[in-house]
């Protein structure tokens, strides 16, 4: 039985009843039982991507719904600015939409998506740096002074989440990315290496250096908490 909207790509297995029989994607070499008929939400990322690559654009919506919050929060952690998150997240998913037909399943979808988001962030940060340079604006001096003032006078009275966000903004992009991917998004070193396109040793080094710099920036807050 071909499912509506699936273009005959799916077919029944010999198992199960007609009402609840699982569906097998026969065109994939490694046969996987993926879903009840018509339920996109229960399909995993790879199945949705295959559907998309075979012309079912509806599948992309479920990929977006599944990963949009991770991408939005990643971008928020990178920029600490809700105003830019929405626009950049949309750009990330538009880029993914354009590149998804060429996705080769060499990494997980969310890792691939993170890589797009990190690249976008890097481009945006470079763009801001150039803009600041051209307009003779100081590089993050305001943010640094603000954080320093808050650290100097009773840091415990301030919102720790806010201070953490400000501290992250003072880090260079590659250190900031490493900390965000590890400590906020919970990626493994291996996944981080894929996203950041570098060796695992480099990931460890950047993470350590970024943490050292962040510890220094937030020292009063951390000492107070450690005691």
């Amino acid at each position: 039985m071909a499912l509506p909207g699936y273009g005959g790509m799916w077919e029944e297995t010999a198992r199960g009843s007609s009402a609840s029989r699982p569906i097998v994607m026969t065109s994939i070499p490694q046969q996987r039982v993926v879903s009840q008929p018509g339920s996109y939400a229960q399909l995993d990322d790879e199945a949705l991507i295959l559907l998309f690559q075979r012309g079912d654009e509806h599948a992309y919506r479920f990929l977006v719904e599944r990963h949009k919050e991770r991408i939005r929060n990643l971008l928020f952690s990178m920029f600490h600015d809700p105003a830019v998150v929405d626009d950049m997240a949309q750009e990330v998913f538009i880029k993914a939409y354009q590149a998804l037909p060429r996705f080769r399943f060499e990494s997980s979808f969310y890792t691939w998506l993170y890589r797009i988001a990190v690249n976008k962030s890097r481009d945006e940060l470079r763009r801001r740096k150039v803009r600041r340079f051209l307009t003779f604006q100081p590089l993050d001096e305001g943010m640094e002074k603000n954080l320093h003032d808050k650290m100097a006078h009773r840091p415990e009275s301030h919102d720790a989440k806010e201070l953490i966000g400000m501290g992250l903004q003072l880090l260079p992009e590659k250190f900031r990315t490493a900390i965000v991917l590890k400590d906020l998004e919970g990626l493994s070193y291996e996944e981080m290496a894929v996203v950041m396109r570098c060796e695992i040793g480099t990931v460890k080094s950047r993470l350590s250096r970024g943490r050292t710099m962040l510890r220094k920036a937030l020292e009063p807050l951390l000492k107070e908490g450690a005691q």
Binding site: V64, K68, E69, R72, N73, I94, A160, K161, D183, S208
Partner: protein, 437 residues
């Protein structure tokens, strides 16, 4: 333990805090923590930092994200179908930029129109000269170099001139078409008429001695003009003066205007009886015109614009021809020139020229068209030959043919008062002549 650099120590502590440290490094870190309070403090801060980062602010879920994204995706899809070399959203910017550029260029062009026009004029002149220099290369040979007085008179009155006594190829001008006139070089197809020699002309018109002198001079000018009007280049280019029929009018007008009225009537009778293609209309009692007026008009026209037809092209081009030098050369080396002309005639008779294989070509800007004929070529000019000034008081026109009269030719002679035309019938044109028109 003491060999650990601060950087390496921090890296190991960082990995230890993540719980992702290799076993051999774990031992090192644990020994370090046991022996070094500062390491313990650093680890404590690292764990505190990780804890704070883990609890960092997160955004509220955005339930309208897909709606907005799908709209942008629709835009992207439409943009993918955009054939413009830039995104559609830039159309207003591009339009504004193009308008500004056009306005600026327009302003600059208007401000500097004279130098610009001079530049393009110079360019077009250069192109024209290049074409002209290319289409008629090498030495040229007048097709009619040795036209005698009888031949000049024959051509002037009847518009026909054979290349040579021994050939059938003839130069013809024909103004009988409604839309202009023709110049043809081809095999003779008309009925052979008794040639009107100068002696016969004198016998019938009976000009005075002074009038004969004027007519002699006119015919001498006609000889020169005919010689310079039809040329053949060494590269087989054929050039013809498209204003050649003007010569016939000038000569016929010149002859008629220097005659007294009775002589003019005899002249017109001579033309009519011999089926000349031109008719002379005149004021009955108009006195003879000063010969100088005729000569000045005839001398003023020196052909420089030629219709040039080569095996490859057909163009109207300016040909600078020094006829005097050419004539001197011919007189100096008459033997060789005559021999060249003889070869040329033989080639024309044998149909060796490739002009006839060229497709018909129309030069719209010059109202001219070239048609290959079976044996030679025909040039049609889509405008009337230039009218002569009114002071001649003698009008030479193509002899009109009325269809209703079965091919008769009518000559209209206008009397000053009353102005109604008097119509005189002349013998009909023979079929052989009709077929050439």
């Amino acid at each position: 333990m003491s060999t650990l650099s601060p950087r390496k120590r921090s890296e190991l502590l960082s990995q230890y805090a993540d719980g992702m440290i290799a076993d051999k490094d774990r031992t090192i870190v644990e020994e370090l923590l046991a022996s070094d309070p500062s390491a313990k403090q650093e680890l404590s801060e690292l764990l505190r930092l990780k804890s704070l980062l883990g609890g960092a602010r997160r955004l509220e879920p955005d339930i309208g994200f897909w709606t907005r994204l799908s709209m942008r995706l629709d835009d992207e899809r439409q943009e993918a179908q955009n054939l413009l070399p830039f995104p559609k959203r830039y159309i207003p910017h591009v339009a504004t930029t193009v308008t500004l550029v056009v306005a600026v260029f327009g302003f600059v062009a208007i401000s500097n129109r004279m130098p610009i026009m001079a530049f393009f004029s110079k360019q077009s002149q250069a192109v024209k000269e290049a074409v002209e220099q290319g289409v008629l290369q090498g030495s040229v040979l007048p097709l009619f170099a040795n036209v005698d007085k009888d031949q000049a008179l024959q051509f002037s009155l009847f518009g026909e001139l054979p290349l040579d006594d021994s050939t059938q190829t003839t130069l013809r001008v024909d103004e009988s078409t409604d839309s202009g006139y023709r110049i043809e070089v081809g095999k003779q197809t008309r009925r052979q008429v008794r040639p009107v020699t100068f002696d016969r002309f004198v016998d019938e018109v009976r000009p005075t001695v002074d009038q004969r002198r004027v007519i002699d001079s006119l015919l001498a000018l006609a000889q020169e003009r005919i010689a310079g009007s039809v040329l053949v280049g060494s590269d087989d280019a054929f050039a013809v003066d498209p204003e050649l029929p003007h010569l016939n009018r000038i000569i016929v007008t010149g002859i008629a205007s220097c005659l007294e009225p009775p002589q003019r009537r005899r002249f017109e009778r001579l033309l009519a009886v011999n089926e000349a293609p031109y008719a002379v209309s005149m004021e009955v009692k108009a006195p003879a015109v000063e010969p100088s007026q005729v000569f000045s008009k005839l001398r003023r026209h020196r052909p420089d614009q030629f219709m040039v037809i080569t095996p490859d092209t057909a163009v109207v081009a300016r040909v600078r021809l020094d006829l005097d030098s050419l004539r001197r050369l011919m007189e100096f080396d008459i033997q060789r020139m005559e021999s060249r002309r003889r070869v040329l005639f033989e080639r024309i008779e044998a149909g060796e020229f490739r002009w006839s294989s060229r497709p018909p070509t129309t030069l719209t800007a010059d109202s001219m068209a070239f048609f290959p004929e079976g044996d030679f070529i025909r040039v049609e000019v889509g405008r009337s030959a230039e009218e002569l000034p009114a002071e001649f008081r003698v009008m030479v026109t193509p002899r009109t043919r009325e269809r209703s009269s079965g091919g008769s030719v009518h000559i209209q002679v206008f009397a000053p008062n009353p102005p109604a035309p008097r119509v005189r019938e002349v013998p009909p044109i023979l079929p052989g002549r009709d077929s050439t028109r």
